[in-house]
């Protein structure tokens, strides 16, 4: 089959590889009909995620048709059309039974690597480094889906691939980020980063009752989507001081909750940005937490910092004093996608939201290299790339 393989920094291209085979009785093989590039895939593309190996098949946002199942899968049948959640979860361990699927204790065969870096290991994730299990990803023609009796969600025929594909990651991820804020009536939510996850966080914050959402980015076309599609007020941090603007827009209160939808490759103008860029280049820190620091410093006292952006290692100059003295709460986690797929499918079905509004580029899998460079370079007003194998 054809698959997008990682070969090093900014080198991802299509290769011919073996077709997947069932390894475990609870596996299914899916013929992929749509697959997307996630913002977090850009961290792989730009070489920020450790434990990648040349030839790794990447991609974790995919859907398709079941073509084979193991003896342990009785919930799926050949021909079923399913969306696959990006975290792999066994459904039976204690975290799974508490719906904390991304903390599954059984789905990461390389758990000892995670323990070495993070203390304990997270779940397995498709196509996202060996640290996350070493599972081949879904930017391919076929994928093997472990614990297929727990993860894949059957989707109704009347909805298109583009409408349901993002149930695999970014819609639940934006939703969980907003939900973690515990939004109350009248709350203002600020969202750093207007990539796809940020866009869904904006929509979700309104769904959950926010009075106002403020979107922060530096690309006018992304801020335009946040305003037009999400109904957010916007701040371009290259034009104005974020801190001054937020104070003004909240009449001095500060946003009640702040969502970091940027993650470890944050940018900042001037010295602030140069500081972290230099430190990461000298390997003195692994991640550039400019958005996270700004979110903490600008959040209203007693508020929530909800971190949806991906961080992998260690950060520097973390304003712990602000967190302690102003009683801020930090919430984070890889998304417990399984928990959100059904309720969010209902919101799509009822017409409350059509997630396809983020798609700007439709390519074939063969054009994957182009997809990555366009998305990573924010060229051609790129917001979301969807590919068909």
């Amino acid at each position: 089959m054809k698959a997008a393989c990682w070969h090093g920094r900014q080198d991802i291209h299509v290769e011919h590889v073996e077709d997947p085979r069932i390894l475990n009785p609870r596996d299914a093989i899916i013929r992929i009909t749509s697959t997307a590039i996630c913002g977090s895939d850009l961290h792989l593309y730009n070489g920020f995620i450790p434990s990648m190996k040349k030839g790794d098949i990447i991609g974790h946002e995919f859907m398709g048709e079941v073509v084979e199942t193991g003896t342990g899968v009785s919930t799926l049948r050949k021909g079923d059309r399913v969306v696959v959640p990006f975290p792999i979860a066994c459904g039976h361990c204690e975290p799974c039974s508490r719906e904390l699927y991304s903390l599954c204790e059984n789905s990461n065969p390389n758990a000892s690597m995670g323990e070495a870096l993070w203390g304990y290991a997270p779940c397995g994730i498709f196509g996202y480094s060996h640290l996350m299990g070493g599972y081949p990803g879904g930017q391919a023609e076929y994928a093997r889906v472990p614990f297929a009796d727990v993860g894949p969600l059957k989707v109704p025929e009347e909805l298109t691939d583009e409408q349901v594909l993002f149930l695999s990651d970014i819609f639940p991820t934006g939703f969980m980020a907003a939900e973690a804020c515990g939004i109350r009536k009248g709350d203002v939510v600020a969202v750093w980063g207007c990539g796809p996850v940020g866009q869904f966080a904006i929509k979700s914050a309104y769904m959950l009752g926010a009075a106002k959402v403020i979107a922060i980015d530096r690309f006018p076309y992304r801020l335009r989507v946040a305003a037009e599609q999400g109904g957010a007020e916007t701040i371009n941090y290259e034009d104005v001081s974020v801190s001054d603007a937020l104070r003004e827009m909240t009449a001095g209160r500060g946003p009640d909750h702040c969502i970091d939808a940027v993650g470890l490759e944050g940018h900042a103008p001037g010295l602030k940005g140069a500081y972290d860029k230099a430190k990461t280049m000298m390997m003195l820190e692994t991640d550039r937490p400019v958005a996270l620091r700004e979110a903490i410093m600008n959040c209203r006292s007693g508020g929530t910092i909800s971190v949806a952006g991906v961080y992998g290692g260690f950060i520097d100059k973390f304003p712990m004093g602000a967190i302690v003295n102003r009683a801020l709460t930090i919430k984070s986690g890889q998304t417990h996608v399984h928990r959100y797929m059904r309720p969010l499918l209902e919101r799509i079905r009822s017409g409350e939201i059509d997630p396809s509004f983020v798609i700007t580029h439709r390519l074939s899998l063969d054009q994957v290299s182009e997809g990555y460079s366009t998305f990573s370079g924010k060229e051609d007003e790129c917001l979301k790339v969807v590919m068909t194998p």
């Binding site: 059984n106 070493g134 081949p136």
Partner: protein
Amino acid sequence: MHTYAQARPSHERLAAGLGWFSLALGTAEIAAPRTMARLFGIPDDPRLVSVLRGFGAREIASGLGLLTQPEQPGWAWSRVGGDAIDLAFLGAAANEDSANHQRVAMAAAVVAGVAALDLICARGLQDHQDSRRALGIEPSHDVSVERAVTVGRPIAEVFAFWKGYENLPRFMQHLTSVETLAEGRTRWTATGPAGVSVSWDAETLVERENEWIAWRSLENADVDNSGSVRFQEAPGGRGTEVHVHLTYSPPAGQLGRGIAWLFGQEPGQQIKDDLRRFKQLMETGEIPLSEGLGLQRAAQPVRDVADVAAMAGVSPELVGAGARLEGGRA
């Protein structure tokens, strides 16, 4: 109350501390004997200075000994003897007219204080060694590993799976088989990567329903080993806590090297990985495999499923679409 303590015995820690002290003092005495002589208040006489150099060499020898073999009482005793010589030397030096008597007295007091510590350390180490000898425990290099895992299944189910020793090779990477020979007798076989096969017989020492299993290899075993597993209900309905304790004495020579893989480079990690597979099997009915296991190969589909099974150390019967589901979730 269970306290987790794997720290070195206190006398060994004291020995290491004294070792560093010896090294520092010895280095100073060799490098700057005249300064040290002035510090101790003894006359700046070339004869005395060369004696001080000699003392420096002795201190360094004791220090290295203490640091490399902190369990051996001999090195601590060598310091006790050295202290006696130092005190005699200081006594003699004090009689010299040009000595600074106040400083010599102070140096003597410090030596006496350190001598007391040396004595405590040497006697402590000696007692420990004597008691081990009395018990017939040779100062061996026994490897002892304790690891635990929580399995989200009822205690009876978890116990039953362990009690059937033949289940162990399903999740213990290096075990090929465990057969029951007779009541309380089992034969264990392990195969290594080079095809080296080792087999030994063991007897069950304890088998207390839902609580405790313990076994020990019999006299004829190539590798002397023993193991025990304790089962305990985890709090708040979290299933069963499984505490494994294994000890073995690796034999010397060729066989010893052949045996090294049996418990892995890092025996604790090996047991931990085995216990993780046990938890997976009990909780999910399978041992989930990935094509990119470790960093051995890229995360790409495999041509032969058996390769992945071999790489992961999982028995072939657990691999493939029609593999049988083992453990509690069948």
